[in-house]
């Protein structure tokens, strides 16, 4: 599974997903986007994010949860029938 065959279509698909995610991130309220970014791009722990933003840690976590929920919703809308990615990998159970 880790033998990531970088086919052109995979690259394109990856690009598309990246674009979707980018759009979704942009739609998040800044209060939430900051948390996501600090967590995922800065690798800060929730405690550290809370300190940096001067917020209670619980608030940071709940914003994170809200953000993930929201992102999940948008991304599900964006990519259509995504169910289980492994299905595409195995491909044996054709329609």
């Amino acid at each position: 599974m880790t033998s990531s065959a970088r086919s052109p279509s995979a690259v394109v698909e990856n690009e598309e997903r990246a674009e979707m995610l980018r759009q979704a991130l942009l739609r998040l309220p800044e209060t939430h986007r900051v948390v996501v970014v600090l967590r995922h791009y800065e690798n800060l722990k929730f405690r550290e994010i809370a300190d940096a933003l001067d917020l209670p840690e619980g608030t940071v976590k709940s914003r994170m949860a809200d953000a993930l929920t929201q992102l999940a919703r948008w991304l599900r809308h964006l990519r259509e029938p995504v169910d289980i990615k492994q299905r595409t990998l195995h491909d044996s159970s054709g329609p």
């Binding site: 990856n14 690009e15 997903r17 990246a18 674009e19 995610l21 980018r22 991130l25 942009l26 800044e30 986007r33 900051v34 996501v36 970014v37 600090l38 967590r39 995922h40 791009y41 800065e42 800060l44 722990k45 929730f46 300190d51 940096a52 933003l53 619980g58 976590k61 709940s62 994170m64 949860a65 809200d66 993930l68 929920t69 992102l71 999940a72 991304l75 599900r76």
Partner: protein
């Protein structure tokens, strides 16, 4: 059945809950389809986010150590100057022009703040450098690179400005508390001697603080937008950087 709070799940998903909590949440997950659905959706999104960040991390390692060195050097110069400049910038602030004392004091405060901050900034940057640059560069290579650097320095700086903005953001936010204490102590000392100037001072400090706050918010915004910019821009950056690396590595060997 009572469900764990989203906060608990976040700690769980991001590996910040302890073993007993983990066990409890694991058990709950086994028996609760509702929570399982939530957690699955969160996990999928986290995976998306993690996948997206890969290019950002690869940017440095893939592009090559030569570039990393140059970039780090450029960034080192940049971030220190940048952060210091940001923090000292309340220069054009309008304070009561007649209160020379306050202006002088403010200058002193700012100088002190910068003095306090600079070591922090520098050590963060050093750590960053140490983290990113594993190999010590020889003098010969360094001079070749510094020659080459001139050509692309601006490009590199622009690119890495974003990265370093992140660094500056975290650094600045970490030192905010300390700075505030310092400013407050100043205000108190001074207030003991002259009350009316103290008011001016407080106003000045408030300005400093609010500018710093704005700067901080700007940094945070930049940081947040960084996350959204990396796609197309990253591709362009990588081309630029790859070109530079080709140049920087070709010239020392090619010309001798």
């Amino acid at each position: 059945m009572t469900h764990p709070a989203p906060e608990d799940w976040m700690a769980y998903l991001y590996g910040e809950s302890d073993a007993p909590e983990n066990a409890a949440l694991d058990a709950h997950l086994q028996s609760c389809a509702t929570c399982r659905a939530h957690v699955d959706a969160w996990r999928a999104t986290m995976a998306d986010l993690e996948r997206r960040r890969l290019p950002t991390e690869r940017r440095i390692s893939e592009v090559g150590r030569h570039l990393a060195r140059v970039a780090v050097a450029a960034a080192l110069l940049f971030v220190v100057g940048y952060a210091a400049g940001r923090l000292t910038r309340p220069e054009p602030v309008v304070i009561a022009p007649e209160s020379v004392d306050v202006a002088a004091l403010r200058k002193a405060v700012v100088a002190d703040v910068v003095r306090t901050l600079s070591p922090t900034l520098e050590s963060s940057v050093r750590q960053e450098v140490a983290r990113r640059v594993a190999v010590v560069v020889s003098d010969a290579v360094r001079s070749e690179l510094s020659e080459a650097t001139r050509h692309v320095r601006n490009d590199v700086e622009t690119r890495y400005r974003k990265d370093m903005t992140e660094l500056a953001t975290s650094t600045v936010s970490l030192v905010t508390t300390r700075t505030n204490e310092l400013l407050f102590a100043f205000a108190q000392d001074y207030g003991a001697s002259r009350l009316e100037d103290r008011q001016e001072l407080v106003a000045a400090l408030n300005r400093i603080e609010s500018e710093r706050r704005q700067d901080y918010e700007l940094l945070v915004r930049n940081l947040a937008s960084l996350a959204t910019l990396t796609g197309a821009e990253l591709a362009r950056t990588q081309q630029q950087l790859a070109r530079f690396v080709a140049y920087a590595t070709a010239s020392p060997e090619g010309e001798r």
